[in-house]
Structure formats: C-alpha cells, structure tokens
Symmetry: C2
Subunit: 197 residues, 2 copies
C-alpha cells in the first residue's frame, strides 16, 4: 500500500501507527500540504477534499479521511470491537475527534508551529474549544482505561494523534490526570511508534 | 427509542429521516440548544460533547454524533453497503460531511437564520469553504446517481441534510446541476420526510 502522507500531520500519523501495529508494509509518499495551489494536481483524482492522508490500496483504489482509513484497516482485527453498539461508540468518538478536537487542538498547534497563531482572530476561540474537547475526554476517561469497551481500539488512536502533541500548541494538560494516564497506556501498546518515527 | 432533538438541526433531521425510512417508532424530546448553560444539565450524562442528536435506546444506553447514529441504525439494512471497502467509502463521505461541509454550510445557515451572520469575522471564510465542499460534491457526483456504490445510503442522508437547505444560508446552487439532480433523487426515496415534518 502507499500512504499519501505529511510528516507533522496527526491525521497521517494515525494511519502510520495502525499500519505499523498491523504489520502491513507501506510506502510513504510525502505531499507538501503548504503548496495549496498544487493540491488539485497532486490529490484531485484521489480525494475530492484535497487533503492527506490518502491510502492507495494495492489494486489502485483510494481511500481518504484518516478515521475512515483506520476503520477500513481495523475491520476484523482486535483494534475494532466486534459488538455493533461498541462499533457505533467507536465511531461516536471518532466523529467527536474530527468535529470538536481536531479543528481546535490541531489547528492551534499547526498555527503555533508556523509562528502565526496571533494572525488569526479565532485562535483564542479555538483554544477555548480545544480545552472543552479535552474536558469532555477527561470526564469520560475517569475510571476507564480506554475510550470504548475497555480495550485499546481505533477510537484511542484517533484521539491520541493530536492529544499527545497538544503541548506543541501550548495546551497545558497538567490538570488532566485521566488523559495523562491514558496517553501512557496508548504509548505502551505493542508496536507503538511515535509521530516522528 | 427516544431522540434528543432540535427541529431546525440538519444533524437531528438525519436521524429522524432514517428512523422513519426504517419504520422504527421513536419519541422526539426537544432540547433548546440556544440555552448553552443548560446543556450540561440536559445532556451531560448522555453525550460528553453536549450536543444533539442523542439517541436513547430501549435499554437506556445513549449514542451521540449524527453519523454514528446513522451507522448504528443502518447496520444490516439496505441503507449501508455490505462490502467493506464501500463501507469505508461511506464513512469517508460522512467524515467529509462533518469536517468540510457542516462547519461551513450549516454554520452559515444557522447564523443567517438567527440574523447575526455579519457579527462573525469568519463568516465569509466559512462561505468560501462551504462552496469548496459543494464543489467537491459536484465533481464526485458527475455521472453518478449516489455517493457510494450507486445506491442510496447513509452517505447520501448525511450529505443531504444540510445541502438541501443550503439556500437558507444564502448558498446559490444554480451552477451545481449534479447536486440538484441528486437532491431530487434523495427526496424521491420511499419513506422520505422533510426537515419540517
């Protein structure tokens, strides 16, 4: 398989992490996402939304959206619960991640890394909403080991990707003990790789 | 089943539409989402993200996130393809909907309906991004009848919800012939109800 990839992207890291844990060989094809005007040329026939990651299967078909890629790869493995309600709860947390978490925690981190956080009038609102998402995670994890069904799953991978680098966006997780314990549990999983690997 | 619901919300309409098409009886429990400070009290034990829709099953368990609810209800029915890759493509379009479409098309509509579109500095950017999402849909639908696998599925329900009322946010769909033909096909499905039903 080939992964259209961007090294600092947590969304791309999700796919790299699960591919590695599933022991599936893959090729990384770096896409420079800062070149917005070239995205149509690079990704137009692979993802209508012109974003990475995109997974190219061995038969040439393409799949986009990080959490849809996780779902596809995890099917029939221990990384996706078998029970239909637990599967739906897994999706609930993955949709939460893309709606409440990523647009806030990841975008603030991205702007911080590029040095133009203060150029955007909505950065403070995104920080507030990022903390609200982290608060929802903290309340849920209180007393639990993992997000769904008491075992490590793609719901954890999806939420780990940008939570474990939230400090790069200036988020302070000192008051989130359940999240910190969970981050350690995820990082201790067999086959774990870091975002920099 | 009970649906924690808001009448003008396209996200809630998705659940009402599929429940009706599946002939599943349900009770609507209206939540006034404008009362932000009461959300914790009303929804705290049902959805950590404090948003509607939330589906309460007959056994008292709760499921949140509109597209996770669609997935759960559609399992094993003709509204979800059986093939794993087509299932993943269905999710790809549903994640696209929540990331690229809803935060732009739905938010601009919401602000327009409340009469404070111009109070938000990012409304124009959201309108641009809304048109970008509609453009991606138009390109994909060219030559296709439905989003995935050439049949009506929950991918269509997810994207129909806010596209068919995009005009209420001032979006002009005159130059989107493939979308208009698809909107008509979705509205002609057996058991279809409108957002006002």
């Amino acid at each position: 398989m080939r992964l259209y990839d961007s090294a600092p992207s947590g969304n791309c890291y999700k796919a790299r992490l699960l591919l590695t844990q599933l022991d599936i060989p893959f090729e990384r094809w770096a896409v420079d996402t800062r070149q917005r005007e070239r995205r149509g040329e690079l990704l137009g026939d692979k993802n209508p939304a012109l974003r990475v990651p995109v997974l190219e299967l061995d038969d040439g078909r393409h799949l986009a959206e990080s959490n849809a890629i996780l779902w596809y790869l995890a099917g029939g493995t221990r990384y996706l619960p078998g029970d239909p309600f637990e599967q739906a709860k897994t999706l609930q947390w993955m949709f939460f991640e893309q709606y409440d978490h990523e647009p806030n925690v990841a975008v603030v981190r991205h702007r911080t890394m590029l040095g133009h956080l203060d150029d955007h009038p909505d950065s403070e609102q995104r920080r507030e909403r990022g903390y609200a998402a982290l608060g929802a995670m903290e309340r849920h994890l209180d007393g639990l080991e993992y997000f769904v069904g008491d075992r490590y799953s793609i719901a954890d991978i999806a939420l780990y990707a940008y939570t474990h680098v939230a400090d790069e966006g200036g988020f302070d997780l000192a008051d989130y003990p359940a999240i910190n314990a969970w981050l350690d549990r995820v990082a201790a999983q067999p086959g774990h790789i870091t975002i920099d690997d």
